[in-house]
Symmetry: C2
Subunit: 564 residues, 2 copies
């Protein structure tokens, strides 16, 4: 089957030119680009009438789980944005379900229009402070390299391990490099000698740069920089100078973590390009980052360009600076027509796998005494301090009066925090205090709690915390807001406690209701409590975090006691 | 073992910047680049005192056999030029010795200082008109892909086969692409739809561009362009506009075929860069082509840059525009110091292989009647016309009087040409006429005759031709000039009839004597007869050629009779 897209303005990502050309597609491939093709060369002809033909957009690094959508629903949400490939790190589900989680993501992303490339999670569990649902060694990852959509090793967050030369993590890196595969990095603020050691281990890119200085050091040292614009972590504005040479061709675009409403309202990679253009940068440069240069990062030889031999992943754009996507072709097949998604069947995941990822919650009922701290009197305690719209937390030393509300002090915004192991019903849990959440009543609980995805709860009293925790448990995973022991909003995430069974619009609506519900509990308008909470248990981001094993001083990489 | 190169001016090929830095090497790798390293970080320190530190130069496409040197002697010749890697296509020896030839080149290039990457010859024999010493199928090439220095499939010269969709050649291309390997192209003047088909088959680069227009079409269609400057084919001057963006980053440098004297007198990739600089272009751009961008073409992730994790192949340059190479490090080991090659042992090739490549000549003695054409009277004949310094030949129709000197007419420069099968003693041979060689007496003969490397002879009479041919036969391969039945100069090429056993200087001297000797026979000063002769039997270059099977009309791809 040959399709001729005639009279297009083809965006040439090799040269940055825009050329008046016809594009000839045969089955999954582009087989010709030239003004010499005629209708006789094709079985079917589409007149582009001067619209732009652009390679499909590539998200260089995303955790699909963070969208709370299954891969198929995610695809439905982003195909109209012109995303034809994502490089996904199933790190979240792997921390819950181990190798089954990776298998699920591979099966559930087969035939969903866009191509979901998979990077193998490198840090399951993320650190020694974590109690994840599984542990993945180099040997566990080994068989996945044969899968045609597996590209390499996902973000190596254990940068202290790499810098220290720890065998486990180096073995995983070397396994990928021996195969000539890409190894993604994650090393915020690492610099100088430590960064050299990290890069020399074989780590080819980073998506954690928050300043131009940080990005330039990495590019000069040979890494590619993924400019990240997610729902929480937003680096685009600060990294705008990278949209000029000599930096641009060493950069790509990534979303990392995107919430469903954000995807539906603003868009995906297309929205990053729009933001870049609004900031006065060249759309073609941004498009090159989101196509060819992304493909090059992963050694993909036939992706990211409109040229002979390339996969026919392409977009018809009515407008360049607005990236108004009219049609989308994935592997030569139209998946979006006039902005509307054409229907397709979601893949059916094997019954055993489908069951495995839906039965990840393994925890007995919780009672209020599970949230009681056995201390008395006024004690100096470490309190985790949330910062607005940041994943970095602070440490605040506060006098806690355990004799009043077991330490909770709503007036001073000192609330109770719990992290409860929920994979293997070990009974392990930690209790502590947090400030910055702003609840005046009730509690919030979630099974989305990077990276181990244990049950995390912030509450104003023990009863409310138990109610919230139990509701998440009953749903087999999800997020909930509770007031007076009653659910005021909830979002079930029955697939490994991370993903919804629902469509993107419905999931986004549920998520929005949940987000807004917390303001009824007193959470300030500018605090995204579920997002903030999701990173309170991740001891790879500074400064004070809490896992099931206790408070973690991230900078010193050690467990520290609640009471000083 | 850690070496610190301090106070260097490091050429950053990622950004094009030159930075004052120290470079830390550990064993084979660069492990750090920064101003924060001190002598305490290293076991040994070298003060660069402001000299440039440049990644080692990469020749993107070379036939080492064309230098007439063994890989070790070739390395000795080019290491002082700063060449630390070559991507070699052992196409010539493979056409003589088949898989043994590839094996020989791999063994003979192990541990020779520079890294000799190997591309697997795609066209053995080159065409159906050829009688080579061997035939290599996709299955024959298969096992070589596991060798760590084998990168992909070498220049696919059979572009008519690719365009026509012939299964044999497509199978070889697909075998390389399935492994994610590079497939080199060779398709001079191919354009439009045919070029699209050729590229769409999976061919990633071309080194045959002779005009900017040709090169730009290829770059726009996604190929990388190798700018070639060999002894015979010289495209650098015509392609100078490519040393600017948006073209430059899609280009690399290649020598293809270089004669030994040329290497010793002018240099190698370094000399290309010097020529570029003399023409007013930026040396850094040329260096980036010869390093990182070459590595990218072949998917080499740790070659071509001075950066953490990269192989410590680097040069110390006293001067940038002159590329004056002071020291050369290969895999962290100094191989050139103050411009002098440090001694090392040539690799020892296994006895059986060594024997195999030295017994490639299989041909009985020749007599004058072997060169006699059984025609009489005056007949209109096709005569091959040599053009000065071009591989392209013409067709001239001349009246040949077979009753006088069996058609030879020195006054009109019509000489006799013979191509004699020499691999399997089949007795196959072709006789014809050639103009442009200019011999007034004697004969010349050579076993270097692309790509089948049969015995080729141009002579003024049959006796001289027999004498010349027999001498090449006695040497087991080589080149010879004969006058009055006596050798006036010769160059034995006992390794498969292509390579000398001698060192570069001695081989170059022999070759120069041979080159000059032919002028005694009347060959004009501006005719390089051995080089011209070496391409007279290659039916992939237009327009009229002769193989053992007869005259070939290359444009029509068919055998044509001598007499019209």
């Amino acid at each position: 089957m040959r399709i001729l897209l005639k009279n297009g303005r083809v965006i040439n990502v090799f040269t940055g030119e825009v050329e008046d050309q016809h594009v000839l597609i045969e089955d999954e491939k582009i087989i010709g680009v030239g003004d010499y093709y005629t209708e006789e060369d094709a079985d079917s002809v589409q007149d582009m009438a001067g619209s732009y033909i652009c390679p499909g957009l590539i998200d260089g690094h995303i955790h699909i789980e963070s969208t709370m959508l299954t891969p198929a629903e995610f695809a439905r949400a982003v195909l109209p944005c012109g995303t034809t490939s994502v490089v996904a790190d199933p790190h979240e589900i792997a921390n819950v379900c181990g190798a089954d989680g990776i298998r699920y993501m591979l099966e559930a992303s087969e035939g969903i229009g866009l191509t979901a490339y998979i990077m193998l999670p490198s840090c399951v569990p993320a650190t020694g402070f974590d109690e994840a649902g599984a542990r993945l060694t180099a040997a566990d990852l080994e068989p996945f390299y044969d899968h045609p959509r597996v590209l390499g090793l996902a973000e190596v967050m254990d940068y202290p391990g790499v810098v220290a030369g720890e065998a486990d993590v180096l073995e995983k890196i070397q396994a990928a490099r021996r195969r000539g595969r890409t190894v993604d990095g994650h090393a915020p603020l690492l610099t100088g000698k430590d960064l050299d050691r990290y890069i020399a281990a074989g780590i080819g890119d980073d998506h954690e740069c928050s300043s131009v200085k940080e990005a330039k050091e990495r590019i000069r040292k040979g890494q590619r920089v993924m400019i990240r614009q997610g729902t929480a972590a937003q680096n685009l504005k600060d990294l705008l100078p990278l949209f000029e040479e000599p930096w641009a061709h060493r950069c790509l675009l990534a979303s990392d973590d995107k919430h469903p409403a954000d995807l539906l309202e603003k868009g995906h990679v297309d929205d990053m390009i729009r933001q870049v253009v609004r900031a006065g940068k060249d759309p073609i440069t941004a498009i090159r980052m989101a196509t060819l240069w992304a493909a090059e990062c992963f050694g993909l030889r036939d992706a990211g360009a409109v040229a002979p031999g390339y996969t026919a992943d392409l977009l018809v754009l009515d407008d360049l600076s607005g990236i108004r996507v009219r049609d989308v072709y994935c592997k030569g097949k139209r998946t979006v027509e006039n902005g509307r998604l054409l229907p397709w069947e979601a893949p059916v995941v094997g019954a055993e796998l489908a069951r495995a990822v839906r039965s990840s919650f393994n925890l007995g009922p919780l009672s209020e005494k599970d949230f009681h701290l056995e201390h008395s009197g006024i004690r100096k305690c470490r309190v985790i301090r949330l910062h607005e719209r940041q994943l970095i937390t602070g440490e605040w030393t506060a006098d806690i009066d355990f004799d009043r509300e077991n330490g909770v002090d709503i007036a001073r915004d000192i609330l109770k925090l719990a992290v409860v192991e929920r994979h293997h019903d070990t009974g392990h849990k930690s209790l502590g205090f947090i400030t910055g959440a702003g609840l005046k009543k009730g509690a919030v609980a979630s099974s989305v709690s990077h990276d181990s995805h244990n049950l995390i709860i912030i509450g104003t009293d023990e009863k409310e915390m138990a109610a919230a925790g139990n509701r998440v448990r009953e749903m087999g995973g999800g997020c909930v807001a509770v007031d007076g022991g009653k659910v005021i909003a909830e979002m079930p995430l029955s697939i490994s406690g991370l993903m919804s069974e629902k469509g993107a619009a419905e999931a986004a609506r549920e998520n929005e209701e949940l987000r807004h519900s917390v303001h009824l509990l007193g959470v300030p308008q500018d605090v995204e409590i579920f997002m903030a909470m999701a990173f309170v248990s991740l001891p790879v981001i500074p400064h004070l975090k809490m896992t099931t094993k206790g408070l973690v001083d991230v900078d010193r990489q050690q467990i520290v006691p609640l009471i000083l």
